[in-house]
């Protein structure tokens, strides 16, 4: 059993007293790490593999559509919607487009994260009480990407930077569900950021899609629970972050 650890607070917060979500990172809970990202333009009239990740598990992912979604104007980068999320589906090896006959080309920015959707994890809540930020602090902790200068002012050049908030993972799990609603306790004491994924049984292939918000499926957050409702039988996986929705 190990009893050591390391934590670094975000700039302006006292690491000894700050809330978990005011940390840059802690060895007690993982960061959401980007495995790969890129842009693609593809003929959405045909089913196809968009990205091969070969992680061996279905990972957490995000898709932002920038062109080809008739619900938006081209150039408006938006998270996939109830109208599109069902067609972007993640397997243990590939991100797949499954919306043959869409009618146009589509352009996306994808993010695949180094985190299985099917993971059971829950961090302790060490401190959830928000503290005051000291704007006069002048320290910083930075790790730049390989080949990038640590003095860069472009935050995309960094693995991590204490001038920024990051996505700290609090809880992840998955379960088989039938149509209806259920709750998930998180015990954070505030409404946290979260994402939900579903592998719908009727699709028959175990591939996950992001659950967007609509009347047939949605997830909402309170200070103690996430409530999920759905009209579909399937396996549901979620990721709840330390980061509060409101701050």
């Amino acid at each position: 059993m190990s009893d050591y650890g390391i934590k670094i607070s975000r700039k302006g917060f006292d690491v000894r007293t700050c809330a978990d979500h005011e940390l840059l990172f802690s060895s007690e809970f993982p960061l959401l790490m980007i495995h790969s990202s890129g842009t693609l333009t593809f003929d959405a009239n045909s089913n196809q593999t968009l990205v091969t990740h070969n992680l061996g598990y279905a990972p957490i992912f995000l898709i932002f559509i920038t062109a080809g979604d008739p619900a938006f104007t081209d150039g408006q980068s938006h998270l996939i919607s109830p109208g599109t999320s069902q067609f972007f589906r993640m397997s243990t090896t590939n991100l797949i487009w499954d919306g043959a006959g869409w009618g146009s080309n589509m352009t996306i920015r994808y993010y695949i994260f180094r985190r299985p959707i099917e993971t059971n994890f829950e961090a302790d809540v060490f401190n959830s009480a928000q503290t005051s930020e000291n704007p006069g602090s002048d320290y910083v902790f930075k790790l730049s990407k390989e080949g990038k200068d640590v003095s860069s002012t472009d935050m995309r050049d960094f693995i991590i930077n204490s001038d920024t908030r990051n996505m700290l993972i609090h809880k992840t799990d998955f379960d088989d569900r039938v149509p209806g609603s259920w709750t998930i306790d998180h015990n954070l004491g505030y409404e946290p950021m979260f994402l939900f994924y579903c592998a719908i049984d009727s699709a028959g292939d175990g591939r996950y899609q992001l659950v967007a918000t609509a009347e047939d499926s949605q997830a909402t957050a309170t200070s103690t629970q996430i409530t999920v409702s759905t009209a579909y039988t399937g396996t549901y996986g979620y990721i709840i972050f330390k980061d509060p929705i409101l701050l």
Partner: protein, 146 residues
């Protein structure tokens, strides 16, 4: 010269741990939000919009590119039965697929981040959002959104 910074979760050896067993791994960046690029606001409808786009929030994000962005919203005083925070886009009802006639959307362009309520097609009268307040929380990341 190749180097790494690896910090594992409790109980794992940094020399053998997979990235999934780490708290921090210098091969894998994390999405980052700078101060001033996230916040909250609210909007109360003074009438029920017809077929139109109602802008609820516009932020000049200051990046020289289209960033990755997300938003959560909740409602009070109206017909939309979501009193707790949910992620955008939010489609109201089961309208015409695929362009959905009534929806709350969040998106980023090369200069701005916006949250809109869009009514397209007919009928625009159901639901009536007059008097409804929308609470919005937005996150504009430093990472590319396009």
């Amino acid at each position: 010269m190749s180097y790494k910074v690896i910090i594992t979760l409790p109980g794992y050896n940094a020399q053998t741990a997979t990235p999934e067993q780490c708290s921090l791994h210098s091969d894998f960046p994390t999405p980052k939000m700078e101060t001033g690029k996230f916040g909250s606001t609210s909007y109360t409808f003074a009438s029920n919009p017809g077929v139109s786009t109602t802008n609820l929030l516009t932020i000049n994000h200051g990046y020289s590119y289209t960033p990755m962005a997300m938003a959560y919203i909740k409602f009070s005083g109206g017909p939309v039965v979501t009193p707790f925070f949910c992620i955008l886009p939010y489609v109201i009802g089961f309208d015409v697929f695929p362009d959905w006639e009534k929806k709350f959307v969040a998106y980023a362009t090369a200069t701005q981040f916006k949250i809109d309520y869009i009514v397209s097609g007919t009928p625009p009268t159901d639901p009536n959002v007059n008097g409804m307040t929308v609470f919005m929380k937005y996150y504009i990341f430093a990472e590319d959104g396009a």
